[in-house]
């Protein structure tokens, strides 16, 4: 019996995460990349001119998108070897479940990098990120969903083009603009101790982005697969 879309999606996510857990290459490189980025950004500015509390949110979310791209690149890249994608397409599951499964695995990947990057920013920049851990986690989750929704679709598209890895950032970074701006702005207000009412607008924008692009990309994904 063919599994339902959601349970098939869980199976695919588990498969991708098992591969990642056993090799751990992509995760380590993304985590090291994020840490390096955070450190390099620190030395690229004059701490007497820009307060770290102003800089930290921007650094956090810029690094978040770049390290996210590293994981997304692999998402469909690993299916290219031995044409593993053909086996996935031949399986008695819906196309949407492939997309959702890949997206779930990417979400875990991106969140895991965040778990390392956020404390690192707190440590190196001396900003009180973790004092509002629940709210920050909410911002991070909403931002990660939007990033992964679009990025997973473009990852599926990019592997079938001549430019391959080049194309993913060119397409994705633009779509990350409405994710990075609200996430960075909300984080900046959070660590500045502003009232929650100033953050709500940005959170709504993130939620709207997530809803629209998860729906649109799930619908669009079956068209990206070669028949």
């Amino acid at each position: 019996m063919a599994p339902s879309t959601l349970s098939a999606a869980f199976l695919i996510a588990r498969k991708d995460l098992a591969i990642e857990f056993r090799t751990r290459t992509a995760f380590f490189s993304a985590a090291v990349f994020a840490l390096l980025g955070i450190v390099i950004f620190y030395f690229a500015w004059d701490p007497t001119a820009v307060a770290s509390i102003d800089l930290a949110p921007g650094v956090l979310w810029a690094i978040f998108t770049f390290s996210g791209l590293l994981g997304l690149q692999r998402s469909f890249g690993i299916e290219q070897a031995d044409r593993a994608i053909d086996a996935l397409l031949g399986a008695p599951i819906t196309r949407e479940s492939i997309y959702l499964g890949k997206a779930m695995a990417n979400l875990v990947f991106v969140a895991a990098v965040q778990v390392i990057a956020i404390p690192a920013v707190q440590l190196f920049y001396g900003v009180p990120l973790l004092e509002n851990a629940a709210l920050l986690a909410l911002i991070a989750l909403l931002a990660a969903i939007g990033l992964v929704a679009v990025g997973t679709l473009f990852s599926a598209m990019a592997v079938n083009t001549k430019l391959a890895e080049m194309l993913l950032p060119v397409l994705s970074l633009l779509f990350f603009v409405p994710v990075v701006i609200p996430a960075a702005q909300a984080t900046a207000r959070l660590i500045a101790g502003r009232p929650g009412s100033e953050i709500v607008g940005w959170l709504k924008l993130l939620v709207a982005f997530d809803i629209v692009f998860v729906a649109a990309c799930t619908l669009a994904f079956p068209f990206t697969i070669e028949e």
Partner: protein, 237 residues
């Protein structure tokens, strides 16, 4: 379904082989007439002086650029639904012309802003949106260039065209919120004044001329795409 022959390209190819493209000629004449009216028969704006006249190029180009990208998105949806390559060619042509028009907007804007605002560029919400619009559709053209398979190129472009149009309101909202929540000392943009009748007439004439020009360019570009598809099909055999 994916065969270009479904477009009946033979007649289009034959027509474009020789003779004058009347639509193109009319469009060029209309642009010349509109420019003549802008330069000689439209009064100077009291405060901004001659610099304001670039407005008659800037706004029509912007409106037609938006229209062009609307055509890309709608053709994209229709292509995914019907699978007719003619729709993809329309999207391809419209996107290319749209990028040209957006470039006109991005060039004429700073030319005007320098004397009036005192700066070439400012991160005003509308400027930022136009810049991102340009990036989206340049990315669209990059994607098209990166795919050899004709049907795959059409499908991927359609997806990007649709997602791009969904992205525009979000970019607009986020840069708009960014600006309003973060006021900076910028030169204040004048609120849209109610135009005097002679200026409004000039604007409308200019808009019609630009739209004709858009249609003429898209038609030319569409014919080129048709012939290229036909050639690829013959070479493929």
């Amino acid at each position: 379904m994916t065969s270009p022959s479904s477009a009946g390209p033979a007649s289009g190819a034959a027509k474009s082989a020789g003779g004058i493209d009347w639509l193109f000629l009319v469009a060029v004449l209309a642009i010349a007439a509109a420019l003549a009216r802008v330069i000689y028969y439209t009064p100077f704006e009291a405060v901004q002086g001659p610099a304001q006249k670039i407005f008659y190029l800037h706004l029509p180009a912007a409106l037609d650029a938006f229209m062009a990208f609307g055509v890309v998105a709608i053709s994209g949806i229709a292509y995914l639904w019907l699978g007719d390559l003619r729709l993809d060619r329309a999207a391809e042509s419209s996107a290319e012309v749209g990028v040209v028009f957006t470039t006109v907007v991005l060039v004429t804007g700073p030319l005007w802003a320098r004397p009036v605002w005192g700066t070439w560029w400012t991160w005003d919400a509308r400027l930022t949106l136009t810049l991102f619009l340009w990036f989206i559709y340049v990315g669209y053209l990059v994607l098209r260039g990166a795919i050899d398979d004709r049907a795959l190129r059409a499908r991927y472009s359609a997806i990007l065209g649709i997602l791009g149009s969904l992205l525009i309101p979000f970019i607009h909202l986020s840069v708009y919120l960014f600006r309003t929540l973060h006021p900076r000392p910028i030169v204040i943009k004048p609120s849209a004044p109610s135009l005097p009748p002679e200026m409004l007439t000039t604007l409308v004439i200019s808009f019609v001329a630009f739209t004709l020009f858009y249609l003429a360019l898209v038609r030319q570009r569409y014919r080129l795409a048709t012939e290229r598809d036909l050639l690829e099909l013959e070479e493929g055999r």
